[in-house]
Symmetry: C2
Subunit: 271 residues, 2 copies
């Protein structure tokens, strides 16, 4: 029997349904230096919620707190619908391995997105077309190989440390290396697919780890299906690095100029 | 016996310690139209964590999901240390009333802020001095009366609806009406003390409620004690309003130009 092979991303974020306990496993294809790519973990958690029989509405907000390293292999997702209202749901998810302590703690809000007054105040950044930019080379971490990064501003240059801090701003196209239609899961993963802002500001790699990631979705599944795109225009920046922690805020835009998601995170660094 | 009366804010956010279950109660002084001011709820939750005997380090990140209205009166806080590492702690708090369903769900990260390379990339906004601006009048909601808002940009003007959306940006000084030294709790409350961005964009009041609030602290208790300030320079803006939800991002600066906290939220509106 011939079946179309699943996209690597769908393999990596696959979950097995349980009642309140779901299962997933880390993917060698989305591996970072000391654990799974945080964006894949976040997307796996969101997938368990989207596929949950009690889920209603579309993802509106997701916060993922990375509490401890996740080891290679299977993990459990304790999924709990904390509160359901007429048009919104509040979820809490705890990821653990082998009955040990919680490694990832997440909350999510789902909502029915009713038609309303609509106004996009933010301006879509200017950008050279995707096709006019060379892809970023495949570097060591496997997760980076799964994405097609095309930098417009803030091209990574992590071997040129200078006395003065450089800009932490980046503007780039992000698509899956094997094109995949952008859905809520890919927006989630891509919201963590920026390189550490501290690498840009210092122009060098330093020990780094995301501590907490929050993503808001400004589109619903219908909007996204209508966009029918395989890449986003992304910008990311930082405001401050202080006492071992730094922030990042980012935006993910559709090629047609619709703001699909905004994201913010706080990350540990050693420098 | 003469004792110095507590600041209203400290009364409003007072908690009674339990083992895993703490108690608080809503305050008539920080009341919004249909429930307590969300910033006071967030600060009360953070206070329970800061005062918790197991707490270690300083607040780094706080996410509060407002799941259901909180009625006037007492509430319970189920406080759980989900994971503790050598230098960070992950907490989960559920607020409920009378054994009913969860009304507020929060996660927090505490961390030991070790000295590091430090760089504030963001530029402190220009601002007229606090003393040169008239205070915003005391309006209906009691919580607004507890703050001294002095608008530099985006002065509220909610009775002048026009066909074209207005700017959602605001820049203002925020202090307690009865001055109180800025601590982590006031930063938390002030990060939710902006008026709804949709009110600014539409120049009218519409039904509105914060759904999820995330605040990152870029300072620790020592830094803050050294600042010794009673007000912050605050900016807030929105990027998009779509299908009944809109975002807000904000910054809280010390008068000396230090970025103390950044905040983001997603809110429901009806328009």
């Amino acid at each position: 029997m011939l079946t179309k092979p699943q996209h690597l991303f769908d393999d990596a974020t696959r979950v097995t349904a349980g009642d309140s306990r779901w299962q997933g496993r880390t993917s060698p294809d989305y591996w970072a230096f000391v654990g799974p790519f945080g964006g894949a973990t976040a997307a796996t958690i969101l997938r368990a919620l989207i596929e949950h029989p009690q889920a209603s509405g579309d993802p509106l907000a997701l916060t993922v707190n990375y509490c401890a390293p996740i080891a290679e292999g299977p993990f459990d997702l304790d999924v709990r619908l904390v509160k359901a209202n007429r048009s919104s749901q509040h979820w809490c998810v705890e990821l653990s391995q082998g009955g040990a302590e919680v490694a990832t703690l997440a909350t999510a809000v789902f909502a029915e997105r009713r038609p309303s007054w609509s106004h996009q105040q933010a301006t879509c950044p200017d950008a050279k077309p995707f096709e006019a930019i060379l892809p970023y080379p495949k570097v060591a971490a496997t997760w980076v190989k799964q994405y097609d990064f095309r930098f417009i501003d803030g091209d990574p240059d992590f071997g040129s440390r200078k006395a003065q801090p450089a800009s932490a701003f980046s503007k780039l196209w992000i698509g899956d290396r094997i094109p995949r239609k952008i859905d809520m899961l890919s927006l989630t993963a891509m919201s963590d697919a920026f390189f550490g802002r501290v690498f840009h500001a210092r122009r060098e790699l330093v020990p780094f780890g995301t501590v907490s990631l929050t993503t808001y979705f400004h589109t619903d599944a219908d909007d996204l299906a209508n966009e029918d795109v395989t890449r986003v225009l992304a910008v990311a920046d930082a405001k401050i690095f202080h006492k071992s922690y730094g922030d990042q805020s980012g935006e993910l835009w559709s090629p047609s100029g619709r703001l699909l998601a905004t994201t913010t995170q706080i990350a540990y660094f050693k420098a």
